[in-house]
Every structure is written in structure tokens, then in C-alpha cells.
Symmetry: C3
Subunit: 164 residues, 3 copies
């Protein structure tokens, strides 16, 4: 996929706050699209966005106490993430998945794999992990580091940064 590598490396950084299926699709489409043409790409997963990088893809009771376990179950990972619009109890994302397959557009799971393959830097938000009772071990191995916001802002400085 990589075609043009510019001399001075451009940078794209994404703060992935939403856990919605369509917005996570946007996160990984931007990340892989930019990485494929030679950008340095950094993603900071926080709040509901942490869903996208959990090891267990289905619903599971992850978390330190019953409350955070409940949130972990409800969030449930990307295989069950809802649409921000026209969700219809989960049918909306299923239709989207069908349309993406049908039109040879990469699915969300394929996009996550592509991001990893293209060396996108994946970070997890320390504070959100505290609130939701998540540990580094709950996430995929490709998570580079657990950071606070100010450290991430120093990483993303000097490029284009988007909050999604």
C-alpha cells in the first residue's frame, strides 16, 4: 500500500474518544490512509474508544469491581459497537458491515489489523483506564504505552490532531 514517502514526515494524531462503530471506522480509515502514504500516525484511545483495543472482542466482564465490570460488559468491544446514528438496536452496524464487505471496503477488524501492520502508534489513556478499571493486559499487545494527556499532546504536537 505505501506509495509516496515524503522527505519530511507528516504527522496525524487521533484522540479516539468514541466507541461508536462508524466513528471507530473513521479513526482507522484515517489512520491507515495516512500511514499508507508515509505519515507518522499516533492514536490515543480514551473513554469509550478503549473498546477498540481490547483483547477480548466479544462482551466480557473486564474491570476491577462490579461497576467497572458492568461497563466493560456493556461496552462489549468492536464486534458489538453501536452506530452513532441509525443504530436500531445493533442492526445499523450490521448493515454497514454488509455494505462494506459488498463494496470491497475493509471492515473495522481488517482496518485495525492494517493499522498494526502499518506501524501506527497505539496509546491508551491512563486516566480513563483508572475510571473504567482496565489494565494494560486487557488490551492487545500492540499498545505501545499507557499515557496521560499531556504526554500525548507533546507527541502529537506539530501535526494534524483530531478528536473523534
Amino acid at each position: 500500500m505505501p506509495e509516496t514517502i515524503s522527505n519530511k514526515q507528516k504527522k496525524l494524531s487521533l484522540i479516539a474518544f468514541s466507541g461508536d462503530f462508524d466513528k471507530l471506522t473513521a479513526v482507522f480509515t484515517l489512520a491507515t490512509g495516512a500511514a499508507a502514504v508515509g505519515y507518522e500516525v499516533n492514536i490515543f484511545f480514551t473513554f469509550w474508544g478503549l473498546d477498540a483495543i481490547k483483547q477480548k472482542k466479544g462482551r466480557s466482564f473486564i474491570g476491577g469491581n462490579w461497576l467497572t465490570k458492568l461497563f466493560g460488559f456493556m461496552m462489549g468491544g468492536i464486534s458489538v459497537s453501536p452506530n452513532s446514528r441509525f443504530n436500531f438496536l445493533g442492526i445499523g452496524p450490521k448493515i454497514f458491515r454488509y455494505l462494506m464487505k459488498k463494496n470491497n471496503v475493509a471492515t473495522l477488524e481488517e482496518l485495525v489489523d492494517a493499522a498494526v501492520a502499518l506501524n501506527v502508534n497505539i496509546y491508551a489513556c491512563e486516566m480513563a483506564m483508572h475510571i473504567l478499571g482496565l489494565q494494560k493486559g486487557d488490551f492487545i499487545h500492540e499498545v505501545k504505552d499507557v499515557l496521560g494527556v499531556s504526554t500525548f499532546l507533546d507527541i502529537s504536537d506539530g501535526g494534524q490532531t483530531l478528536f473523534i
Copy 2:
């Protein structure tokens, strides 16, 4: 409206993902506000945001098959776009429109026209068009080009870029 044109042209780029009435109002307020003082303004319409640049303003069955036609009908264009908050089955946006008129604030449709008049660059997202079964001909004539994300990121590079 243009008052100050700075020597070195500043740049504002917007990724218009949302189809919500209030967020689209934000997109066009930022775009026209910036263009009016001499910014280069680029908008990349994707996913639900594509609604804002459809030719047919009311509900209509646009799309390649019955599923995308259904999405086309449900999205329905800006005249029926919902609020992200306090929508109340469409009454929320109507109240907003009333308040905007009453306070001499430009309505969403007027803002779209103003953006075109101020030479805001309007782009449509290729991938989202594939998924939703939309063709370039479904959009207003002022759409400058159909692009992928990496091309748009090169256009937006070096300015302020917002995901809305």
C-alpha cells in the same frame, strides 16, 4: 463580508462526519466565518455529513440498491436533519431554525449558500460514497472533487483541521 485578507493565507479544514443539524450548523459557521476573513477553507464531507451536500434537499431514495436507498431516505438531507441533543422527533431543529431566524442568525441553508459564494472548497469522501451507494451526480455542482482521506490530509496539512 470579506474584510481582512492576511498576507500569508491561513487555512481551516473540516472533516464533516456528522449529519446532525446543530453540528452541520457548526461546520458552516466555522467555514463561512473563516472564509470571510480570508482563510483557505476546505471541507471533506464523509458518512452522515454527505447529507449536507445532496442535491435533493428532502427525503428521497438515492443509492445503488435497496439498502443504500433506505439509508438515503432515512438521512433525508439537511431540511430534515436531527439535533445531536434535544431532537424530540425533529422539533428541536425546528425550534433552532426559529430562534436563528428570530435573532437574524443565518439559517443552515443560507450558510451553505454563503460557503459556496465565499469559495469554500467542498470535497466528498470516496469510501463513504461507495458504502452508501452515492454518485458524484447526487451532490450539488459545487463539489470540487471526490477524494480519499490521504489526499485530503495533504490538502489540510499546515492549517487547523477539525473533525466534526
Copy 3:
């Protein structure tokens, strides 16, 4: 809290559009995190985000006419702001507040106070105030100025700008 002050001051600017509890928490976490390490931080509160800087924290009928008063009452301020996900009629934010307290993470109200203490620049959006019938006196005293979007974009130019 301030630890490192870099030679050339970095800049973070936030357009706070959402009135959701979780997104406002993100706004103030980013703002205080950046200000604590020496960034210039600017926040432009607009639409639902104006809720965060109202003087009266509970529900109250602020606004010029009955319609805007109604919106003022429904928005209600940060003590009753909803979650963007898993709101459950307001129980979601309450659980979040509990988890934040329990894990020694600053609550939203504490974050607002911290932002003020760290000299974060707080601006209110003129147009949204017109629509919602709000006056400068309805907001906390720390609001530095009432601005239009183009003035804010000139302030935020040259740093990282996020739309939340």
C-alpha cells in the same frame, strides 16, 4: 502541578460544542493537563458546551424568551449533564462521578476550578449566545471575552485545535 515549562510556549485550543458529561470531562482533562505543563490553553464554548460555564449550576430558566428559557432549563448545567453513551436517564454520569471519586480522579467541577486556577483562557461564542438568549452575565466571571468564530480561529492558529 506545573512541572515543565518549555521555552517556546505550545498552544492547545478547544472548541467545546458538546454539553455531554463525558465530553466536557475530556475538555477539562485536556485543558488542565496541557496548562499544567505550560501550554497556552484556549477554550471556545459554543452551543451545548455553554452549559459548562453557566453561573447557576442546577436547572434554571435562563434566557430571553420562553423558548430559550426552556432550552436553558433542559440543558441545566454540568451538575445534570448527560453521558454521550450509557446515560440511563442520568444514572450513567452518576456512576462515572462515583468511579472518578473512588479512583482519586478529579471530578468535573474540580476540573473546571483547576482550569480557572491554571489560567486557561475561557471564551463564549457570540452567535450561540444569541440563539440561546444568553448574556455574558449568565456565565462565570472567568469568561475572558465573548467572540465570533473567526476571532477565535486567529487565537487558536499555530497550535493544536480540537472540536469536542
